[in-house]
């Protein structure tokens, strides 16, 4: 019994018991359902072992939506708890766990997965490639992310959630002040999914650099692909920093080392420093793909080419460099003095310049255009004003002396939500609506889509604008309650009302998906939006080889030229296409990593050793494996193309 005692949650409440029941019921339902409909084989052959970038993208998408739900429920609970003074809906401990998991889930497991989803789906199509450079590694990336996310989420019902904030500052996150295994989960889950992210970074840089369609020089790439290239560059150089920081944190917690302790020469500030050396570039990892998506959508629905293509690219490169030079602004108040703070203030505010360039370029893309208000376009247009508010408050936060007053307050919370929600979440939803027909061959309902937009856009403002005020009035963040005399009550109540509006907006999106699956017409053209880049030049849904003939490109908007100027995209004739084989190893390896992580969380060293050997065995297997892929014959291509409504010339 002693062995199992460690898995108990330290302070269980009704929410935890309810989650346990819900998880158990869902698992049973999935299991029974798969068995009853005899779908195990289908699931294994078509999804769990797939190396197809489009399917991996869709799996990322499903996971991201699940995580959005989890993080959203956390958010609602937090807003409900603080809606009135002295509320007793949640206890301090529950509240602390909830805001910690809200942060981690939303950033690492929702937003990251969402950008991975859209990148995986769209980038190879946009550059006219058959797949990514390393399809097998791509599957491994997904399964590492997925099992990392699962490991993090089971902490809620097994052993206890992390409770020291998403930034997990030591020594609060050390063994002395966080005795439960929660922070172990944090360290290991982030490590595993971070490894997956790093692999994706390498994979996509190689893909974009080496696998572009003939004629597509770097300066002729679609803007989303450019943003993906820059993003992955940041990933490759930022994630190793997190890897090291997490490793040190794990060793402090499991092996009693003194990296971040306050005795024996440890330095708690080092964690904060390293966390933000990674953490700030991470913000740009999230926002740059979003900028790419907006560039595509705004140009498509203004019926105009993107204004200032070159300066768009240059500003992204500038952002990628600057993103590594500003991290200290996350802890101006740590006492490092006026000189250091002045330097990092200036670099921080400098980022506003390239960002401003992008905003003006988008505005001038709209100018002289013919603006069509589709759902993806509405989100993109909603993004500009709200993000501007978030952006200018960011400049305000960048001023060190003033930051001494904003730091750790609701003002900061308002700022970063008003950057991340219009910046990232709007872009993800816009991208979802935009590429949905290409993914699934039917469109999402526009009426419901517009309703959800208005709900979300207005509610974002209602939720987060009051926080600027309560922040300036002295409300610190992460307080589970406050007394009535502070006068914060009214602002938090307004926030809660806004949060309900957000929840309704997201529920409408889910309903939209359900509604559209049932009622939407399947008879849609391959290019329903009258778009401009290559992914719209192939069928919907996309055949596994993407393009029957590799397109040849001559401008930034080859597909537009094909439609308007009669440019010939597909020259030559069908040839056998080489494709990679499916493999179950990435899935198994992810599973072994999950066991490995779980064993480390609880310090069960025998299992840890066995799992480590398992990982090594997977690697060795890969080393010796002979797998040359397979060929799709010309007859097969002809048949597929015919079934999909006639070959493209």
């Amino acid at each position: 019994m002693d062995f199992f005692a460690r898995f108990a949650v330290p302070n269980p409440g009704p929410t935890i018991y309810a989650s346990m029941v819900a998880i158990a019921l869902t698992m049973v339902a999935i299991f029974v359902g798969l068995t009853y409909y005899k779908k195990w084989g289908y699931l294994w052959r078509e999804w769990l072992t797939t190396v197809d970038h489009k399917r991996i993208g869709i799996m990322y998408l499903i996971s991201a939506l699940l995580m959005l739900f989890r993080g959203g429920v956390d958010a609602i609970m937090m807003r409900a708890q603080t809606a009135v003074p002295e509320n007793t809906l949640l206890g301090a401990q529950e509240y602390n766990e909830i805001f910690t998991t809200h942060g981690v889930v939303m950033i690492i497991f929702m937003a990251m997965a969402f950008i991975m989803a859209l990148m995986n789906f769209a980038v190879p199509l946009q550059i006219g490639a058959r797949d990514v450079a390393f399809p097998r590694l791509n599957a491994l990336s997904f399964w590492l992310y997925f099992f990392g996310a699962m490991l993090f989420n089971i902490s809620f019902v097994i052993g206890g959630s992390p409770d020291s904030g998403w930034s997990s500052y030591f020594p609060l996150a050390g063994t002395e002040y966080s005795e439960s295994v929660g922070t172990n989960y944090y360290m290991l889950a982030l490590q595993i999914s971070g490894l997956g992210t790093l692999i994706t970074g390498i994979n996509f840089i190689t893909t974009i650099l080496k696998m572009r369609a003939p004629g597509m020089t770097l300066m002729k790439m679609p803007m989303f692909t450019w943003s993906a290239l820059i993003t992955n560059l940041i990933i490759v150089f930022a994630f190793p920093v997190l890897t090291v920081a997490l490793l040190m944190g794990t060793m402090d917690r499991l092996f009693a080392t003194n990296f971040f302790t306050t005795s024996n020469g440890g330095m708690d500030m080092l964690w904060a420093n390293l966390f933000w050396v990674w953490g700030h570039p991470e913000v740009y990892i999230l926002i740059l793909p979003a900028f790419g998506i907006y560039s595509e959508i705004i140009s498509t629905f203004s019926r105009r080419n993107l204004y200032g293509y070159k300066s768009m690219v240059i500003s992204m490169v500038a952002i990628s460099v600057l993103s590594f030079l500003v991290w200290v602004h996350h802890f101006f108040t740590m006492g490092q003095g006026a000189l250091v703070n002045s330097i990092f203030s200036i670099t921080t505010m400098a980022i506003a310049v390239p960002t401003g360039i992008k905003i003006f370029n988008w505005l001038f893309t709209l100018r002289k255009g013919k603006i069509v208000f589709t759902t993806p376009m509405l989100y993109s247009l909603g993004f500009i004003p709200i993000f501007t508010i978030g952006g200018v408050t960011g400049v305000m936060l960048g001023m060190a002396s003033a930051d001494y007053q904003y730091h750790n307050t609701m003002f900061l919370v308002a700022h970063f939500h008003l950057v991340i929600i219009p910046g990232v979440v709007f872009a993800m939803i816009a991208g979802l609506f935009y590429w949905w027909p290409k993914m699934f061959g039917f469109m999402l309902n526009e009426r419901l889509g517009k309703w959800s937009f208005w709900f979300i856009a207005i509610s974002v403002c209602v939720t987060f604008f009051p926080m600027f005020i309560s922040g300036l009035d002295g409300q610190a963040r992460r307080m589970y309650t406050y007394s009535e005399s502070t006068g914060f009550g009214i602002w938090n109540l307004i926030s809660f009302i806004g949060a309900i509006g957000l929840a309704i907006g997201f529920a409408l999106i889910v309903y939209n998906i359900y509604y559209s699956i049932r009622y939407s017409t399947r008879e849609i053209p391959a290019d329903p939006w009258d778009a401009r880049s290559l992914e719209w030049a192939t069928h919907s849904p996309v055949p596994e080889y993407n393009f029957a003939i590799v397109p040849e490109v001559d401008s930034t908007e080859a597909f537009w030229d094909y439609k308007k100027k009669g440019y010939k995209l597909f020259k030559g004739k069908y040839e056998p296409i080489h494709m990679p084989n499916n493999s179950g190893v990435p899935f198994l390896m992810g599973l072994v990593f999950f066991v490995w992580g779980f064993a480390f969380v609880f310090g069960m060293w025998i299992f840890a050793v066995i799992a480590s050997i398992g990982i090594a065995a997977c690697l060795a297997h890969r080393s010796f494996e002979k797998d040359h892929g397979r060929y799709i014959s010309v007859e097969e291509i002809e048949k597929t193309e015919k079934d999909l409504g006639g070959a493209k010339e």
Binding site: Y177, G335, K370, Q405, D473
Partner: protein, 305 residues
């Protein structure tokens, strides 16, 4: 379209509230440091308001004018690569704005980090240490110690020495000035001053676990004379702070306010010496001196404490 009006209304509401009847704590400063930060905040708000107005005006104009329903059926939007001139304009103007704000930032940051000027008296040194989830204030000069409340004289600079008996905390009195971290392995200095007698609220602003929300303290600023009387009275009436008593106070939990004579600094000194260990990394800044001299310097600085 609705959203823009909603946004504008909200911005005006905020502007009204910021300047309006019920001042927000941060914008209602009661000392020179707080006034500096409040001024910086207002300067930045107005500068940024100009940016927001320009962007919004441009945005509303463009989106209204170029919407498809406002165009003829056969209008074909032109292909425009960009305009070097315009792009230089919207690079240069933000650069100027950032340069202006940089100057404001650097000047004000040095100002709030330094001892406030214009006072004749020497700064009053108060050691403020946090423990889960309390604040301990030691007045070495007056030889008294308080828990969870702070009395300070007005019109005199106060030099807070911040450190922690637990996780990283952040010492913050919004009406007097910005916050700074209190950490376990070093002492940070925070310079504040109050000009106006009155009661202000202070708190720990950095998350420290379960009892974080209630880790607050009260600040009472009063003329020097009253302060001296208070010190005298405490010295006459309060019990001495023993080591055992202090150990008891440190235990995690919440406490009310209490007062003692003597300070814990005598038996539980602040971690000032520790940071010297880190400081000897200075050999990378001043590489001129040899190893031996470095060691001597370290010893020397240790003797100072």
């Amino acid at each position: 379209m609705k959203i823009k009006w909603a946004l504008l209304t909200l911005i005006f509401t905020i502007a009204t509230v910021l300047t309006g009847c019920e001042p927000l704590l941060v914008l209602d400063p009661k000392g020179p440091q707080g006034r500096t930060t409040a001024d910086v905040i207002m300067i930045s708000i107005w500068t940024m308001a100009i940016v927001v107005v320009v962007v919004f005006a441009l945005y509303i104009f463009i989106v209204r004018k170029y919407r498809a329903s406002n165009q003829s059926e056969d209008y074909e939007p032109p292909h425009i690569e960009g305009s070097l001139k315009l792009e230089i304009v919207w690079t240069a103007i933000p650069v100027l704005i950032v340069a202006f704000l940089s100057v404001v930032t650097v000047v004000s940051t040095y100002k709030v980090e330094a001892t406030p000027e214009g006072y004749n008296e020497e700064p009053l040194v108060i050691y403020a240490s946090s423990s889960n989830w309390k604040w301990h204030f030691s007045y070495p000069e007056q030889n008294i110690e308080t828990v969870n409340y702070l009395f300070i004289p007005t019109d005199r600079p106060i030099e807070f020495k911040l450190y922690s008996y637990g996780p990283i905390s952040s010492f913050w009195i919004p009406q007097l000035g910005g916050q700074k971290y209190a950490m376990a392995d070093m002492v940070n200095t925070l310079n504040l001053a109050a000009d106006v007698p009155g009661e202000y609220s202070g708190r720990n602003a950095n998350f420290t676990g379960e009892g974080f929300a209630q880790q607050t303290f009260n600040v009472k600023a009063m003329p020097q004379k009253e302060f001296d009387e208070w010190v005298k009275e405490i010295n006459a009436t309060a019990e001495p702070l023993t080591e055992d008593k202090f150990e008891e106070l440190l235990k995690p939990g919440h406490l009310g306010q209490s007062t003692y004579t003597g300070t814990h600094l005598t038996f539980s000194p602040p971690p000032e010496g520790h940071h010297e260990k880190g400081d000897s990394g200075n050999e990378e800044v001043q590489p001129g001196s040899s190893k031996k001299e470095q060691d001597e310097e370290v010893d020397h600085s240790k003797m100072n404490h």
